[in-house]
């Protein structure tokens, strides 16, 4: 595995601007419990809030360095610059997220951000499809906010296994053009996967943003790639992906992601925290991404 590929990851995909990151000792201002284990947690972290852009993430220090040891990465979900707050949308799945759910207003933890590269915003308005599977909804409220603010038309396609895992309507910004709901068990919206009917939608938008489990993203990518190849769409596709993170700022080399040199060709190793978490879909090696174990813990 010796190859002269390290520099080319950033040449290929660019890299995050670390100089904007601040490690802020933030105060929890609310924990809104939603369905099941889902919740939204908000922090007063004015310096982070002022710099945060859609698709970027923060590293939350749940414990002062013991258990859990590492920070936990979460995408900015909603940001209120005037109040100086950032909100994260998450599920209590493991030790870190479960501890976050038990925070009380007034409790303080360190929030490091913004980190990573976010979604690219259109230079001139058009129509965007925002496609989220399950928790993948997290980064989209902030993105919508900024898109709508720029006059973009937003189509919101939210899928999940069942209605209990959908992103709650009341947290969405106003001004969304159309909302499409899909649940696998049909408990809300149309039954089925988000990928159904996707080719048609792709034809009518300039931009597609997707976030969700890797298999979903891979399916979206394949569908998009064939539509592009067939000339049915010229939309761009950006995806937000996940990798286990040690640092979030490029020094641990732990968040390796397989990049594509050209199309699906195996390319260099990139870093999710610096080349991502948002990448143009064609820059990823999807076969290798899918080969990674689902269980990261």
């Amino acid at each position: 595995m010796i190859r002269s590929a390290v520099k080319s990851a950033s040449e290929l995909c660019g890299q995050s601007d670390l100089s904007r990151a601040v490690d802020e000792f933030a105060t929890c201002t609310s924990v809104e419990l939603l369905q099941g284990t889902l919740f939204e947690i908000r922090f007063h972290a004015p310096r982070v809030a002022a710099a945060a852009a859609p698709g970027e993430f923060a590293q939350l220090l749940v414990d002062e360095g013991q258990v859990p040891l590492l920070r936990r990465p979460f995408s900015f979900s909603r940001v209120d610059i005037s109040e100086g707050t950032v909100s994260f949308y998450l599920a209590a799945v493991g030790r870190g997220s479960s501890r976050l759910r038990l925070l009380h207003p007034g409790d303080r933890i360190r929030v490091l951000g913004p980190l990573g590269r976010g979604f690219s915003l259109p230079s001139s308005p058009g129509r965007s499809l925002l496609l989220a599977g399950g928790l993948g909804a997290a980064p989209f409220p902030l993105l919508m906010d900024q898109l709508i603010g720029r006059g973009e038309e937003v189509i919101w396609l939210n899928g999940s296994r069942s209605s209990s895992e959908l992103y709650p309507d009341h947290l969405l910004p106003s001004g969304i053009q159309s909302r499409l709901i899909r649940t696998q068990d049909g408990s809300k919206g149309d039954p089925g996967l988000v990928t159904e009917g996707l080719p048609e939608l792709m034809g009518v938008v300039q931009r597609i943003y997707a976030c969700g489990p890797n298999p979903m993203l891979a399916a979206v990518y394949r569908s998009w790639a064939s539509e592009v190849a067939a000339g049915h769409t010229a939309a761009s596709l950006e995806v937000s992906i996940e990798a286990p993170m040690g640092c979030g700022f490029g020094t641990c080399l732990g968040c390796a992601i397989p990049l594509a040199a050209e199309g699906d060709e195996s390319g260099p190793i990139g870093l999710c925290c610096r080349q991502g978490p948002v990448l143009p879909a064609q820059q990823l090696n999807w076969d290798q991404l899918l080969n990674q174990p689902a269980h990261l813990g």
């Binding site: 595995m1 010796i2 190859r3 002269s4 590929a5 390290v6 520099k7 601007d17 670390l18 100089s19 990151a21 490690d23 590293q59 220090l61 360095g65 013991q66 258990v67 859990p68 040891l69 590492l70 920070r71 360190r110 490091l112 990798a243 286990p244 993170m245 040690g246 640092c247 700022f249 490029g250 020094t251 641990c252 080399l253 732990g254 968040c255 390796a256 992601i257 397989p258 260099p268 190793i269 290798q288 990674q292 174990p293 269980h295 990261l296 813990g297």
Partner: protein, 303 residues
Amino acid sequence: MTMDPAVSLGRGLVLPNPVGVASGTFGYGFEAERMGPIAHLGAVYSKGTTLLPREGNRPPRISETSAGMLNSIGLQNPGVEVVARDYAPRWREWSVPVVVNVAGAGITEYVEVCERLSDVAGVAGLELNISCPNISHGMDFGTDPKRAKALVEAVRRVTELPLIVKLTPNVTDITEVGRAVEDGGADAISAVNTYLGMKISVKERKPVLPGMGTAGLSGPAIKPLALAAVAKLRRAVELPLIGIGGIGSTEDALEYLVAGADAIQIGTANFYRPGVSAEVLSGLIQFATDNSLQSWRDLRWSD
């Protein structure tokens, strides 16, 4: 503080203070430089560097454990040429000494890498990583006193740079290897590298990390072990010792100084607390002042 916080590691390598950042946890220093000031550091120990560029292991590469983390990065690095040509000139501008951590598959590679770095301005010293658990044979030198000594002798012949040897703790008696590298001509010893560990995914019924599943454990979990290793080494060798393992606070750093370390390196803590080194340094200086230390050595335990 009236005391001089500087620490000498031999062969002219004088660190402005004892607080360094450990190899593989600070890259080549450029990320941290973008995120905040680094001028306070006693030393930067670079990511392990090999002769040719290495892409490292396939993901996943890290996994968290109780108060620790496992890593299996596989020495991803751009190769010595890039380091010597592109990075060292940038280090020349820094006041912080940069020690390049060197890895290799055999004596020849170590020698070639060290030779290449020898007259490069900006490189303050070399740290031989004879203890990386994540590449095949990465630990052979570190577990065999004879081979360790031979390696140090070979490198010693091609460089006048200060030579630090970084030991693995995965041995029955670390003092044997410590004495061997002292005999071989090392200027200082750093201890320790990561401990061999494993994490299993019950769901998949196999290790989380690829290959044989073993990886290197670091973080607070290993501090008591590494501290015992440093204390043992202190009784066995005369060389300056750099204590490493689970340091995340001033108190941790002080424990190592009491155990016999001359300097310390902060590793994993840089990941979850990027500001940690500055805090530890100011904590140490406060402690020295409060306790009217004349030298860090005053702290040393002598039973």
